[in-house]
Structures are given as C-alpha cells and as structure tokens.
C-alpha cells in the first residue's frame, strides 16, 4: 500500500535537510531548497523537522492515495490539491491533483512517519547531478509507488477535531512566500566585489534581477545588465557556499542554491545571508529580486529572527496537537 504517482509534475523529488560533512570530497549538502517550509510540513504531521518530504516544483503532480495517510503541504501555494499549511487526512482512494504554483515555486508534501526510502550517506535527499539518493536518485515519474515507513501514523490524527474535508480549523502561517515582488534579499559583499568596476558595483544593488529560465536546484541565473570587472585577471578556483553569487565571463550572475558545486573559478561578487536563501528559493523563473547590502551583525539578526519565528510556529503546532 502506498502513494501512486499518476502524473509526476515538473520536478518532484524527495528531499530532507541534506548530507553534511562531505564538501571536502566535492559533495554539497543539497536537501530541501526551502528547509523552513520542509520543517513546517513535517511538524504538521508529527515528524522530525528534518524528515524527507516531496519537493514539488512550479507544476504540481497528481497522486492517488491507496491507504489512509496523514499529509501536510507547506511552502508554495498551488492550484488544487489539499488545503495548505495544515494536517489533512487523505482517505484511501483520494486523489491529490495539483496544478501550477500561484505563489512561490516549491511546496513540500510530508507524510506522517515519512517515506520508506533507505538513507544514503546520512540523508534521503535526491542528488540529481550524481543520480543518487532519495527515490532511485531521480525525480518521480508516472507509475512510481512510494511506500510509507509507518502506515499506522495516520492514527495520530484521531483525536483532532476535524472539519468535513478531513482537516482542522487551524493552520500554520507560511514563512518564506513572497508577499510582493521584487523580493528583498540581503547579501554580504563577496571577496571579489572590489574587482568589479563601479558601474557593476552600483548595478548589482540597483537592478531588479529576474530569475532566468535556465535556473535549477544547482543555481539561479539572474537576468539583468551584464556585470563587468575592472580587473581581467583569472581567479584561482576557490570555495563556494550556499548563497554565493558568482559572475562568469558572460557577466550574468549565478546564485548558488542547494545542489551547488563546492568550488568555483568565477569571481564571487556577493554572499546571500542564510536567512534569505529559503525566500529566494521560492522564486520561480520570471520572479524578481533585488539585493541589499548588509553586514554579519545584521545577517545574525535576520537568522535569529527567522529561527525564533519558526520555533514559535513549531510550538504552536505542538500546542494545537495538545502536547
């Protein structure tokens, strides 16, 4: 008994909090592009916040539930499907049919007890470039059957006061969705910021950048004016991190996302603060962003604010469950 895939959607992959401690052998942590939405979806079904869930991207899938399953969908709002941001008991025989994303780009569908997939190198995340991890190292496709690790977990929901559509009257607020665009993303100046000419330095902060279509889980390409350097010297390949913004010779910046390479030979113009990466991850191609300069002090404030807000939401969910 399982969840059957009738239509896979644009890109639906299993993701958790990623595999850490392997960047020295060239493997980035990967994992959910929006770990905040992942944590909320997991908490809503009583899972550990880092449990693996399905990351649904821009165009949603269609699933058939073959047994009673407690699910929650958080992150981007999609047309159709289940009510968002709350636990929903999907009865055996229910179909989950999702259209396009209407706000945000990525939603997370968590099931109570998690999916039955063996962890690899400490994670159930799908690493697409290496074709390993998650569900056979690939996105879901038509006909796949996802088994549940704990089929009895739906019983957890028994004590809840349910509405007629098998959900509850309360919900958890979304944290990372854009209220309006362009979204504001904070960055530190990168190591090579000063090597860009003054026009490029100004343009980086003045431009409303558009997420280009050739963006993916490895990186978001940003369309706008090309950024030129005043020094033409080659950069010695060096390390990168989640949120590094590098500028190849084309002058078109690339923001490194979850599945990024661990080293790079392009100049690094900026580093996106960790608190803002999940918000950037919620932009679909065509979405817009502008960058604001900040320092490590402000980066820490933004990070602490985000963590406190998430902790409060998780407490609220626990309280709603009567814990």
């Amino acid at each position: 008994m399982s969840i059957r895939v009738l239509r896979p959607g644009l890109l639906t992959t299993l993701q958790d909090h990623g595999r850490h401690g392997l960047q020295h052998v060239g493997l980035c942590p990967g994992g959910a592009m929006d770990p905040v939405a992942l944590a909320l979806a997991n908490a809503l079904v009583g899972n550990h916040v880092a449990e693996a869930a399905l990351e649904i991207t821009v165009i949603g899938p269609e699933f058939a539930f073959e047994e009673d399953t407690l699910v929650a969908v958080c992150g981007a709002e999609f047309k159709g499907g289940f009510p968002h941001n709350r636990p929903v008991l999907a009865r055996a025989g229910t179909r989950f049919n999702v259209g396009r994303a209407v706000r945000g780009a990525r939603a997370y569908l968590a099931v109570a007890g998690g999916f039955s997939v063996e962890p690899l190198l400490g994670s159930r995340s799908t690493y697409l470039p290496g074709r390993f991890g998650g569900f056979h190292g690939r996105p879901l496709k038509h006909g796949d059957a996802l088994e549940l690790r704990d089929p009895g977990a739906a019983a957890r929901f028994a004590k809840q006061k349910k509405t007629h559509d098998c959900t509850v009257k309360w919900s958890a607020p979304p944290h990372t969705l854009p209220d309006r665009e362009p979204i504001l993303v904070h960055v530190l100046e990168g190591q090579h910021f000063a090597s860009f000419d003054s026009n490029a330095q100004r343009a980086f902060f003045d431009t409303v950048w558009k997420i280009a279509p050739e963006s993916n889980r490895m990186g978001f390409r940003l369309a706008g004016p090309p950024l030129a350097r005043s020094e033409q010297n080659e950069i010695l390949s060096g390390p990168t991190a989640l949120g590094t913004v590098q500028v190849p010779a084309s002058g078109m910046p690339i923001a490194l996302m979850a599945d990024h390479q661990t080293t790079g030979g392009y100049p690094r113009i900026a580093e996106i603060v960790s608190a803002d990466v999940p918000r950037l991850a919620q932009l679909a191609p065509g979405g817009t962003v502008h960058f604001a300069r900040c320092d490590l002090g402000m980066a820490a404030e933004l990070r602490h604010h985000g963590k406190e807000r998430l902790a409060a939401a998780l407490r609220g969910i626990a309280w709603s469950y009567g814990e």
Binding site: G26, S237, G238, P239, A300
Partner: protein, 236 residues
Amino acid sequence: MAKKPIEPKAVVPLGDCAAYIEFADKLDLDVNEFVQRLAAAVHARARPWMRDVVPSLGGVALHYDPDHPDVHGDALEAAAILVQECMKEAAAEGEDAARTVEVPVCYEREFAPDIEEVAKQVKLAVDEVAALHAAGEYRVLMIGFAPGHAYMSGLDPKLAVPRRASPRALVAPGAVAIANEQTVVYPYAISGGWSVIGRTPLTVFDARREAPSLFAAGDRVRFRAIGADEFMALHK
C-alpha cells in the same frame, strides 16, 4: 632550505555560515601542500560547531553553525582562531603521510576521443602522449566541480594543452582528461571542457562505498596503462 613562512592573506566570510581563510591567490604547490595539512589538522580538532572543512587550491573553507552554543560569540573569529591554532602543526615538516592511489587507465582510441588531437597539438605520437601521461607522478590539489572530481598537478609540461574551445556535452564516467598542466578523472557522465585521453574502469565516486570518493585532496596518484581487455575485466 629556508622557506618563506606561510601566513593567511585574507579571512573572508562566505555568507554567515562559512569562512574562507586564503593563503595564496595564485597556484603555489608549497602553499597547496600546507593547506592540505592545515585542513587535516582543523578537521582533527572536530569542533562540534564545524560542519565541513574544505581545502581548495590556495586556502581552506570552514563551514559552521554560527549559533552553536560552543561558538561563544563571533563564529568568523572563532574559525580564524581555530585555523591559527592549527597553523604550527601544519607548518611542521613532518613525514609525508600522503597515500598513493594507483589508477588503471586504458589509453586506447575508443576510450580516448581527444588523444589524437592532443598528439597533433603537442607534436608527439599518440603512444608517446599515453606513455608520458602514465609516467607522471601526480598530486591531488583540490576536489571540486563534482563529487570526487580531483584536480591533479604533475602533468608533464610537454602535454600542456589549453582547455577545449567547446566542452564535450557528455564525457564518459572515469574519463581521464588533461588541460594546462593538470589532469582530472571525471566521476560520472558530465559536460567537460578538458581533452579526454583515456578512461579508468574504477568508480571515482560511489555513494554506497564506505569511502565514497576514490581521491582525497593531498593524495599522490599514479596511472597505470591497461589494455581494453583489462578495462572490461575491471569495469563492473
């Protein structure tokens, strides 16, 4: 011979969860060896707030949890102090603890789509290109670009060719390639811009293996020429 002391040139935040301690902004093999020993020393301290210690060509990156209770204040400063503490250890001229990895490579034409072009460019016979490559003693300078993808120094300068004008859409897993004065082994089918002159039957990165990566930064590497039969026998 007295060497100039190696000192950090820059401490650069890579966002708020990582720092890059840079020792050289140009390739310097002495600095690179030092960086490998430094990364090993930092890694051995196993600080609970440290997530990853990543040596690269001219420095070491530390990825950390800036809010870990053991950080006591500023994480960037804590990372810089930790590196300073390990500097002496890394500078000590100890015995070379690097291991040697032997890599069988088949240089026959069907495994080496670019070897004839390289031979023409460097004005050598195809066999000579293969023999020179297999005779070299290599050192892994950095792992990057893809999991297990090792950049190695030690290529005979006679084989130095620039990167290909247009990258190959897909190279075979285990493809052995050269550019400038370095050689690489592509871990899996991937787009690559280096000239492919052979292929190893070994799996370069296997997430299911106890040590997933065949190579580690700092390793010595030797290539051993094999025929197509041995390639097939070793290839799973």
